[in-house]
Symmetry: C2
Subunit: 346 residues, 2 copies
């Protein structure tokens, strides 16, 4: 089970409808498929979904790392998986999605060798998870129409992007709340507010009894004091996304009482730090959700297996394969909002 080669392949997908979040609109996504070849003939596969905004990643820079990473992992055994995790941890700061792709490919190869599925490697706690679906920033009419469609598709949790215009954000969330009574809302400001704006926003939604279960990343990444203030003043659960990539980020936030929730994304943390964040959060009674970048169906399967196996997440925002063209489930089956780690007959 020794690694003999590594292959990287770029893959471009376009959004069915451009994704509009605070201060950014995305029309397409480029992912990197990693194949990790072993001397036993088993090939492990992983997908990186790079993000410049969150991780500082660029696709050409990641592609250019192939030779260096191969040199470091060549000859290592997939059965000593943590040693390979350690090698990739050194790429955390600027190449975390590639770190994930390699780490996941190792687990994939380990699982093929041992005859188990990845969700069993991760603990086998569940066989499916339920995902939300995301609504871009848009006009009130667009927002209502988008939520209407999402609800009719069977989703019970809707994630609304906010953070560009406080008054319009409140109006959009309150309108959706008035119109759709049986859904749960995650509102994600993607760093778009000041602390006081975020408190004002949370207050307004709370007073209007909006079914908001989580306010994600209200303030900029490095404003931990601001995040703590929002957490303490807001009646709604407050979560961190962009400001938690490593275990060290998570520990600092938790130690300083800054959050109720952490949004774990494999593309920010890789498997190694995601596993650590789960243990830290559980030890501190902090809740977790799992999110995604722009993964294809295969990339999302990584998070489906991880989330099902660990059973660690209250909410699952694993919808990018639905927002992109031509990237259906691979490695999981979808029935409405539910993502199953195995097909019906398997």
């Amino acid at each position: 089970m020794k690694i003999v080669d590594l292959q990287f392949e770029e893959s471009v997908s376009t959004y069915i409808k451009p994704l509009h979040i605070a201060n950014e609109i995305a029309a397409e996504a480029t992912n990197i498929r990693v194949s990790l070849l072993t001397d036993s003939g088993i090939t492990g596969k992983g997908e990186a979904s790079p993000s410049f905004r969150v991780n500082g990643e660029s696709v050409p820079a990641l592609m250019a790392l192939r030779a260096q990473i191969l040199e470091e992992v060549k000859g290592m055994s997939v059965l000593s998986y943590m040693l390979i995790f350690d090698v990739m941890d050194r790429f955390s700061s600027s190449s975390s999605s590639l770190k994930l792709a390699i780490q996941y490919a190792v687990v994939d190869a380990f699982c093929q060798h041992t005859g188990i599925k990845p969700y069993q490697f991760f603990g086998g706690r569940k066989e499916y998870v339920e995902t939300d679906k995301t609504v871009s920033i848009g006009s009130l009419e667009e927002t209502i129409a988008d939520v209407e469609a999402i609800v009719s598709e069977g989703f019970n949790v809707v994630k609304m992007k906010v953070g560009e215009d406080l008054q319009r954000d409140i109006e959009r969330v309150v309108s959706v709340s008035d119109r759709f009574r049986n859904i749960s809302l995650i509102v994600d400001a993607n760093t778009g507010y000041t602390a006081k704006e975020a408190v004002f926003f949370a207050d307004a939604l709370y007073r209007e009894r909006c079914p908001v279960v989580l306010l994600e990343q209200p303030v900029p990444v490095h404003d931990l004091d601001g995040l703590k203030l929002v957490r303490q003043k807001a009646q709604l659960p407050v979560g961190a996304d962009e400001c938690v990539r490593t275990r060290y980020d998570a520990f600092r936030l938790v130690k300083n009482d800054c959050v109720d929730f952490i949004n774990v994304k494999l593309m920010k943390s890789g498997l190694s730090d995601a596993l650590a964040i789960i243990e830290i959060a559980r030890s501190a009674n902090i809740s977790l959700m799992i999110g995604c970048m722009c993964e294809s169906g295969y990339g999302i399967s990584q998070s489906v297996h991880f989330a099902a196996g660990t059973g660690a997440f209250v909410y699952h925002d694993l919808d990018s394969h639905m927002l992109l063209r031509n990237t259906g489930p691979v490695g999981f089956d979808q029935r409405g909002a539910k993502l199953f780690v195995t097909g019906p007959g398997s």
Copy 2:
């Protein structure tokens, strides 16, 4: 891989020389061997080494839990190992060594089924660890003779029990330090000091340049403020043992800056909490050692595989099989101070 039955068997061993720690002398040890039978014919094995002093455990009480635990885990699949871990987590407060034995038996069965060794399940970081050996509380002459023997057997780290008599403790540690220049010393007070005594003790050893690498559990379990004070005043690294059993204990100590080191013992934490403590410690730059209760050779192999696989520990105090009669290594090979997860030819 479904669980169909569970068998418990008591096993008594006597100490070659009674083990004298602060306020307790032990002459024999009773362990419980657990066999977990699955419907595929694979039997997983684990050993519990109960401790009344640390865990509040008594052997008859643990033996009496067999029917209840079997009822809870019967029919569960070993491949969904975290679900079985979760069941056993509910036994943390009063039966943590039994929790470990069941959790380890699950891993043992998982590994037999998948054709890997337990140290690979835990990450495969190393194939051996180096252990210390322990010196009881005793007269100066006895102590010197014991250390002499330990050093001649090839051990580089010696663990000295202290905590009953401050002045004599200092005298013993200083004498050993003067006489044996090339060893590292772990001094373990087993809760025997007040905070101010511990600081005085640490000061004396530091001034005499004793090669003490760790002062373990200087103060009583619930005196976290005292522990923090010792940590802040002492120039030596200060560790917690008896006061860390669960992930919650570890998180509280680390959050409140009470320790430099944590002594993880599988018998206090089981696999589930031990894994969490590793992640917390690494995230907070806290160091770890691994210790033991009174495990036999098989029980110690559990910690050897865990410590080698996770590669998480600076010091290893895995010597109980050497202190007890007729309990040689099972599942590992010993060469001097080194404990190998696999034999030379395998």
